[in-house]
Amino acid sequence: MALRFHWMLPKAGEVVVGQRQTPLAAARYRLESTRADSPAPRPEMEGWTHFAEAAEQAGIESVLVSFSKYEPDPFMVSCALGQATKKLKFIAAYRSGLMLPTTFVQQFNTTAAFINGRIALNLVAGSSTAEQRGYGDYLPHDDRYARAEEFLAVCNKFWLAEGDVDFDGKYYRVEKGELHTPFLSPDRRTPEIYISGHSENAERLASAQGTCLLRVADSPEKLASAVARVRQLGLEVCLRICVLCRPSREEAIQVATSLLPERVDLQHERSATVKNDSQMYREASAVAEQKDHWLTRSLWAGLTPHYGPVWMTLLGTPQDLAEAFLEFKAIGITQFILSGWPELDEVVTFGEKVLPLVRTAERSCAQVVAQ
């Protein structure tokens, strides 16, 4: 199976048609997107559409639309942007516990119908306790997974049901649930469901109700056994990672290190991005404290202690990156959600320089297997 590549949808206002961002400006924009004066909370169709077209052109399958109190709602964004695109899919992030499952399925199915089924779900059990309470959710971390499992169980019942849906759980109760708007997609009966997280709870939830476990990158060596275990459960594994591709490795390193906070005044944003009670954040922060931050020759954790685990960076030449992706493929990773500084330039480079190398290698590998 060919590797599947997705990309983060840039924050609103991050891509401006006719303007070019430097990597540093892009990094700063993202870090400052949680500030009240950032344009990021306001939907911005022109820049998004411009990016979406570039991503489609580059061979990107989907964009991940993230969920937080700092950003517009992912369903509405997917619905609007899905109409302005033809092929691109949307992985809409959503936190369970903020909506009853029946309503959620009704919204999801309706959105899917408007955009020819080009929507998947990234279910997140929760975020920081403070942010959850700001949404009216007071459950502790571990209970959130139990609730998420019930939530998805009800959703999957609706998606698979032949008749009414009944459910009597600890967190949700539904009696004779009926929705007439079905989930329609050219090739699926239920949406793909990505579960984020590094905890055992996340793995269990993915295995019970999801299709893919989404996690932050680490070295193939460290990931191998966990990935094998998850694949055994019938799940795919998707890595969230930033890419920085330049004609030479030295140039890539130079750009990457230019984003370090001691080089620029980005330090003050640290608390907002790093404070989080999830296992993923704790683990990734611990990884980042190791050695000199080089997890492999091209995998660099230098930015994660400052900005959080999703700033784990794969950097180097097109060849370096292609090889790194294939090493991940060799241990069973099937998908990636990428990001870059700036998103637009990096997705174009990826489509022109990196992806063709990956596809060529995959084809010759398939030929070897066939022989």
Partner: protein, 287 residues
């Protein structure tokens, strides 16, 4: 063109009805005609038989320029913060052309299918708290903290604002004939929606709402023809056959909505040829 029987509410609740699927071509065509006709908004009704109203407003709103959308939503299905984030995002995508038709609930059976087990009166108390929290977000000042019977929230803050050329919060239509619905319209709404009656009967209530700064909107059907006789003939042609009528009544009487109870008792003693067709159309309260 479809006949009355083909557009009957009963038929739209059948699982094979096309009403369950979004129909962009038909909707955009209608929206363009409505815009050209000088119609300000379309009401999008909410039920388990239909697509989601926010998603429809988003999709059709992106394909139109002037028309507004009054999206019906039932409180109790979503945390208020989540709800505000969605409608604020929607407003940003369609230039603020969205209003809300808040409905406390529908039939007990349908509510339970949505996972809501509250009784009629409590649903209004919950809707009052719900809209109170929404308004706190729309005032957009300090963080929102609320500790009520149905909702708690601590340090709530959403950065995506409600965006419209001339408003910082959506218009809120509250539908329903019950005492609680009227109270809710007065405490949290901008317009009370009800079924039509004679101006004479409506006058005192309308005056009462007007004094308190709340508008009154009427839900009704129209049939306009060159002559009154032709209009009456057209109206009569819409009378359902006996079987459909029985089923319509069954749907309406299973609801614990005061609007529908009122409407049924108002319509019952009237000879069929004079009955207001609004009775048998999807009423705002059923949405």
């Amino acid at each position: 063109m479809k006949t009355a029987q083909e557009t009957s509410r009963v038929l739209t609740t059948k699982s094979l009805s096309p009403a369950a699927l979004p129909d962009m071509d038909g909707w955009v065509q209608f929206a363009n005609s409505a815009e050209a006709a000088g119609i300000e908004s379309v009401l999008l009704s909410f039920s388990r038989y239909e697509p989601d109203t926010f998603a429809i407003a988003c999709a059709v709103g992106r394909a139109t320029t002037k028309l507004k959308f009054i999206a019906a939503y039932r409180t109790g299905f979503m945390q208020p913060a989540m709800f505000v984030q969605q409608i604020n995002t929607l407003s940003g995508l369609i230039n603020g052309r969205v209003a809300l038709n808040i409905v406390a609930g529908s039939s007990i059976v349908e509510q339970r299918g949505y996972g809501d087990f509250l009784e009629h009166d409590e649903r209004y108390a919950r809707a009052d708290e719900f809209l109170g929290i929404c308004h706190s977000f729309w005032r957009n000042g300090a963080e929102v903290t609320f500790s009520g019977k149905y909702w708690q929230i601590e340090g709530g803050r959403l950065l995506t604002p409600f965006t419209a050329p001339n408003r910082t919060a959506p218009e809120i239509y509250v539908a329903g004939h019950s005492e609680q619905a009227q109270q809710l319209a007065l405490s949290q709404g901008s317009c009370w929606m009800r079924l039509i009656d004679t101006p004479e009967k409506l006058e005192p209530t309308v005056a009462y709402f007007k004094e308190r700064g709340v508008e009154v909107g009427l839900r009704l059907c129209v049939i306009c023809r060159p002559t009154r006789e032709e209009a009456i003939v057209a109206a009569r042609a819409l009378l359902p056959d006996e079987e459909i009528e029985k089923q319509e009544r069954r749907i309406l009487s299973s609801s614990d909505s005061q609007t529908l109870k009122d409407a049924l008792s108002a319509a019952a003693p009237i000879p069929p040829h004079l009955r207001c067709s609004a009775v048998l159309r999807p009423a705002p309260d059923a949405s």
